[in-house]
Symmetry: C2
Subunit: 473 residues, 2 copies
Amino acid sequence: MAADDQIRDAAEEEDAEIRDEEGRLVAEFVDDVAEAIGANDAERVRELAADLHESDLGDLIETLEQDDRPKLVELLGKDFDFTALTEIDETVRVQLLEELPPETVAEGVRELDSDDAVYILEDLDEAGRARILEQIPAPERIALTRSLDYPEDSAGRRMQTEFVAAPEFWTVGHTIDYIADARELPDTFYEVFVVDPTYKLVGSVPLDRLLRSRRSKLLSEILEEDPRTIEATEDQESAARTFERYNLVSCAVVDENERLVGVLMVDDIVDVIEEEADEDLRALGGVTSDEEISDPVIYTARSRIPWLLVNLATAFFSASVIGLFEATIEQMVALAVLMPIVASMGGNAGTQTMTVAVRALATQEIGGHNARRLVRRETLVGLANGAALAIVVALIAGLWFKNAQLGVIIGCAMVVNLVCAGLFGILIPLGLDKLKADPAVSSGVFLTTVTDTVGFFAFLGLATWWFGLGGPS
Amino acid sequence: MAADDQIRDAAEEEDAEIRDEEGRLVAEFVDDVAEAIGANDAERVRELAADLHESDLGDLIETLEQDDRPKLVELLGKDFDFTALTEIDETVRVQLLEELPPETVAEGVRELDSDDAVYILEDLDEAGRARILEQIPAPERIALTRSLDYPEDSAGRRMQTEFVAAPEFWTVGHTIDYIADARELPDTFYEVFVVDPTYKLVGSVPLDRLLRSRRSKLLSEILEEDPRTIEATEDQESAARTFERYNLVSCAVVDENERLVGVLMVDDIVDVIEEEADEDLRALGGVTSDEEISDPVIYTARSRIPWLLVNLATAFFSASVIGLFEATIEQMVALAVLMPIVASMGGNAGTQTMTVAVRALATQEIGGHNARRLVRRETLVGLANGAALAIVVALIAGLWFKNAQLGVIIGCAMVVNLVCAGLFGILIPLGLDKLKADPAVSSGVFLTTVTDTVGFFAFLGLATWWFGLGGPS
């Protein structure tokens, strides 16, 4: 055992050195691995990478050059833990899987918990998936195929089909002995599900409760009745809310007949929460949710251009509003200098409101009971901040162009635009949500269209009217 | 037991009805509770709310009018679960705690796990906290004070000081018997920590492994050596990355002498992950992270205005760039109509790059090894999309103003601005990160300043030079 300890210690030491303070992989370590791969030195590669945690191994794969990735897997052979593939970007994963022989992948996937196996297979195209599945023996293949039949992003896709279930009439002692002796148990579990003979869920017993109960007690006496369940077809985001709301670490997944079919684990839910928050953030920034930093230039450029084209259309629309006032601008160029200020402040204030609204909708904090209050609040905030900014802008603009009236006009336009920004900043996300569209994706375009148009129109229109200049042509 | 069952069933039924399909509280239920509070009907309030899950109770409190909240707590009396306070917005919590008598709060807080107690107490001001702490008996008070001494947002603040620890020489059987008999155990736990006599962490044994091992085995034989640990002073965000990276459900927290002082649980980490993603998103939207949708108008307006003032300064700066070209615009008003298009497209493209960069920095996906590659990629994406958009814009603008040369000029300005947008969209967040500033908070302002300034300057400057109009004044 002492020798074993030393080996472990050595491994841990390597492990401690591969990440820097900020938690990023150390460049020297990556270079060492790349060098060993280049030299086809299987022993050195194993020495460096065989004992890595799946997550570190995943990061290592991402960091390596594309050609070195399949070589790493082959050089590691039996020592390569396919779980690492769940930790890497989709683009990298799909590429790597396509380059590996299907038998290697099939063998690796068989070793995994079902949820990890599904996670790896789901991104492949029909043909690639079939090539791998046909290498897997029937019972496991059927279980995998069943999970893959659930809709994308559903709880059924994320669930693990291995779990511990026991009948109500078992005693605590019997259950503990069963667990100690059983061979085919999931790698990790936190509760024992109590089921009736038709596999309907009756209750659950967390392991700590099992350990704290007398051996002679029946499971039926200590089980938590009607535990929270998640339907297999339910969206993973809604499953994540259930985990979060009720502080769960695992949760039973049931089919449409309320039969237990799997279990969702909190580590997968953590990934879902991170993914969903990421999606909102990217959507607000105009980036698609599947873009990854390892993507090549062409792919990235192509995935970003639709959003830019949509924005271009709205930009031309607000330009056409300015076009209405060409005659006015010709007579008073100061207006052209100042007009972007009104539009951009409206955009900024509206974005503040929209950000709050989009997040509150995503976390289900807005309901019928407080929507009206929020609309009122945001409008009033727009009015308050509009008034405050109006004074500042009026003073600066008035002094700059030595024209007090111009100051008053830009101030008024500012108030109008910030009230609109607050009002539409909340109404647009609420409306899109009502229409079952994702408010994070398109609120921004609509909002900028409103704040630009209102900003230009209010400012140029007021100026035309006040100074009696050549109005809309 | 049958009667007990029926009561539970009834409670579960209520429970099933209080949320609609979307997971929001049903308005009728909230109205029923508000009515019972108005009528001072303690029995009815208990009937409706005593059996609620802490999370549902928390949402109920938030939804009630401010005056009804302390009344609900008082009417529920002993049946009020203070854990619910960990589920509500800070503003609501602080307000409610200030309105309740300190003895009530002290008594409620004593019932909680230490991490929840700290969570509730940490937001109160010095005096309010002292008033409550002095009502709590010494041993518990000392433990709470010690946790509160750790820096805000550190692992020490979030940890639970109750855990199960055992010496190496215990057998599995002895440990299981100990857990069955011990009185003072945490409410929930997933692993037994193995410690030496000085409380230094030697290893950990997950409960499922404990259950799967022979009773005669020693803990030293089955423990996981050198388990991941988190330092009590470590930032909660970095602790969250450790949980996420290594798929943990609980993790030992150690002090500077590597002694076990507490345990972090995944449910708290889920909240941290959600909070941190939220912070990034809000920062990008120009909203402070502590703004909550239950905040009143004045508070909201005041917290948002600093960001607007910063943006106002940059708006005036880019306006001053336009001011340089007043003479040019006077001679060709079409420039004033088109210039916001160039600026806004740069802003949109830059935001796409910045969003990806900010998120990748937050999730530690950018390191020394790929930063240079990313800068090159983003610049090339800017060039590609700039060229594509340039063609579209040049055609539309040329046709609109029946001036092909104007089309060429706006096209060239577009390419210049989108390349800059890509370059600065990545360099600004990277630079801020190097300077240890939070890239999510201020990248946006710097970026808009660049894209507006470059956009206006490139377009108006090119036009001035090309058409030989009155140049910068």
